[in-house]
Structures are given as structure tokens and as C-alpha cells.
């Protein structure tokens, strides 16, 4: 009896996988990488993927953040694919296949994209290097320039004030 149930379960399982594969849109010929998730997980997973797919009719907005009809339709497609068991790489691949790399809001760290990922780190390192080299080149215990310069600069004024005070005293 249990063997019969097992065979039936396998048949149902293979039929639903086949259905999922035939229901897959063009370009997603391979079967879903995952088992169909429970219904309560479909929404959050779809939202996660929609956050990294660019809305084609917006300026720098993800499909998740946009309310444009095109973005809503793409989010709907993402949700359908997640429900079938397709994973993030397969779904983003599906959109890249149609819209190009441009559709990714987060470019993958490969090829020339490494410039984008590494340039902030490189710029920060260059900035830190400049600051450190400037600090090292400064004299260790240099006296305050203001304090050092003050007596010399004040001398002429001091002398004049004192002279004028003396003149005043003499007049009185």
C-alpha cells in the first residue's frame, strides 16, 4: 500500500514539475531551481527580487518601489515565477535576457563592473593616504603660529600706543 502511495506521489510530483516547466515563459526553459515555496513566502521573496530589478519606465526606481503599470506587471511576473520555484538568479536572468544588464539595479561584481564596486574603496584609500602623508609632513611640535607671530606684529602698534599715552600724560 505504502509503495503504491509512493509511486502515486512521484507521479504527481513529476506531473507538477512538468507543468511548471511547460508553463515557464520563453527563456526559462530550465526547470525551477527550487521547490514551489509555501504561499506565505511567495510575497516576501518576490518583493526581495523586485527590489533589485529596475523599473523600465522610471528614473532609478526598482520594480518594487514603483507604481507604474509596467513595474506592477513586472512585479506580477516575478511573483508568478517565485511561486513556480524559480530562484533569484533565474528570475533576474529572465529580465536581463529581455532588457539587458541595464535592468539590474545592483550590477554583478564581474568584468568591468569591478570598477564600480572598487572605485569607492580606492577613492577612500587615496583620500586616507593624502591625509596621512600631510599629517606626517607637518612638524611634530610646531608652536602656534598665531602665538609666535603676535608679539612681532604687535610691536609697532604697542610702541605707537605707548608713545601716544606718554604724549597725553605730558599734555596734562
Amino acid at each position: 500500500m505504502s509503495a503504491l502511495l509512493l509511486v502515486l506521489a512521484l507521479l504527481v510530483g513529476s506531473a507538477s514539475a512538468e507543468e511548471a516547466a511547460t508553463a515557464a515563459p520563453q527563456g526559462l526553459a530550465e526547470p525551477p531551481a527550487l521547490a514551489p515555496p509555501p504561499p506565505e513566502e511567495v510575497g516576501p521573496r518576490a518583493a526581495e527580487i523586485a527590489r533589485i530589478v529596475r523599473c523600465p519606465v522610471c528614473q532609478g526606481l526598482s520594480v518594487e518601489d514603483s507604481h507604474a503599470d509596467a513595474a506592477v506587471a513586472m512585479k506580477q511576473r516575478i511573483t508568478e515565477l517565485v511561486a513556480l520555484g524559480y530562484d533569484e538568479a533565474q528570475i533576474t536572468g529572465y529580465f536581463v535576457d529581455r532588457y539587458g544588464e541595464w535592468v539590474r539595479l545592483k550590477p554583478p561584481a564581474t568584468g568591468i563592473n569591478w570598477i564600480i564596486w572598487l572605485s569607492p574603496v580606492a577613492l577612500a584609500a587615496v583620500g586616507a593616504g593624502v591625509i596621512l602623508s600631510r599629517r606626517r609632513s607637518e612638524p611634530a611640535a610646531a608652536p602656534s603660529t598665531l602665538a609666535a607671530a603676535a608679539p612681532a606684529a604687535d610691536d609697532a602698534y604697542r610702541r605707537r600706543i605707548l608713545e601716544e599715552l606718554d604724549e597725553g600724560k605730558e599734555r596734562r
Partner: protein, 171 residues
């Protein structure tokens, strides 16, 4: 002069120039040109009269697939050009199809009745077909060869002369 700072600044500026130069060399509207040269994704949709049409049934003849909507002004400019092209090239075996994009079928029926409908317009629920073709807006037109391969994608209104030049090359 601080040569270190000058060298670092020069390196940063040179990197920016390289990145910007490569970006300016590309057409920002050509984001979905990845579809050109590939086999068109198949679909089976229903037209405004309730007739079912599949792309695979058009194999063997060049086809013009136009995504449009009634709220799109450039589509209205393009409409008479496509009508003319359909009347001229339809007789020479080219199949013309419209696909409604983010629009109500009733609005499309009214426009077709008023402006003329020389070819069927298909209803695309959930914009599945538009997404399959990587459509980013309307009008967008895909020209398919006899094998169903996308040979050209036109973003913006297609003129009769433009359509004629492309189709003559396919016939």
C-alpha cells in the same frame, strides 16, 4: 607642486573620462536591443474581435509586431503610416499585428473604428507578451523575418518610408 596629489587626481579624472566616454557612446533608448537577432518569443493572444492569434502561426512570412496604446500620442502619429504599410505590404505576404499596451480593449476598439484597423490588435493580459519582448514603452515595433527572428526593433513612431525600407529588404 604636490606630484602625488596631481597624479591621484589625474588618475581619478582619467577613470571618469573612460567611464563617461563609454556611456556616451551608447544609445540610452537602446536598452532592450538585446532582443534583436533572436527568435521572437512565441505567444497566443486574442484580438479585439475575439479571434485567437499565435506568433508561431505566422512563420514563413515576415511580420511587423507593433506595441501601441490609445493614450500614446506618438502612436496616433504612427497609426496612418502603419495602416498604409499594412495595405501595401499585407498584399505581398507581410503579416501585421498590433499588441495593446497598458490600455482598455474598449478604448482600442473605439480608436480602430474611428481611425481604421488594417490589421488585428491583440489584447495582452498582464503585459506578459510586452515583458517577453522587453518592451519599455510605446510605440515599439519589432520586425520579424520569415523564420520568426527579430531583425529590427524601432523605438518611437515608425514612418511608412522606414517600414518600407526594412520590409523591402526582407521580401
Amino acid at each position: 607642486m604636490n606630484w602625488k596629489i596631481l597624479g591621484g587626481g589625474g588618475l581619478v579624472i582619467a577613470s571618469l573620462v573612460v567611464v563617461l566616454a563609454s556611456g556616451f557612446g551608447k544609445n540610452p533608448q537602446g536598452v532592450s536591443d538585446v532582443m534583436v537577432g533572436r527568435e521572437a518569443p512565441d505567444f497566443s493572444l486574442v484580438d479585439l474581435d475575439g479571434q485567437s492569434v499565435s506568433l508561431s502561426s505566422l512563420r514563413g512570412a515576415p511580420a511587423v509586431l507593433n506595441f501601441w496604446s490609445t493614450w500614446c500620442q506618438p502612436c496616433k502619429i504612427e497609426h496612418p503610416h502603419l495602416q498604409k504599410a499594412a495595405s501595401v505590404y499585407g498584399g505581398r505576404g507581410v503579416r501585421f499585428l498590433g499588441v495593446l499596451y497598458q490600455d482598455e480593449p474598449d478604448a482600442a476598439r473605439r480608436m480602430v473604428k474611428k481611425e481604421g484597423g488594417a490589421f488585428p490588435t491583440l489584447i495582452d493580459p498582464g503585459q506578459r507578451t510586452a515583458i517577453d519582448f522587453g518592451v519599455t514603452g510605446v510605440p515599439e515595433t519589432f520586425i520579424l523575418d520569415r523564420e520568426g527572428r527579430i531583425v529590427q526593433k524601432i523605438t518611437g513612431p515608425l514612418s511608412y518610408d522606414q517600414a518600407s525600407a526594412i520590409l523591402e529588404g526582407l521580401l
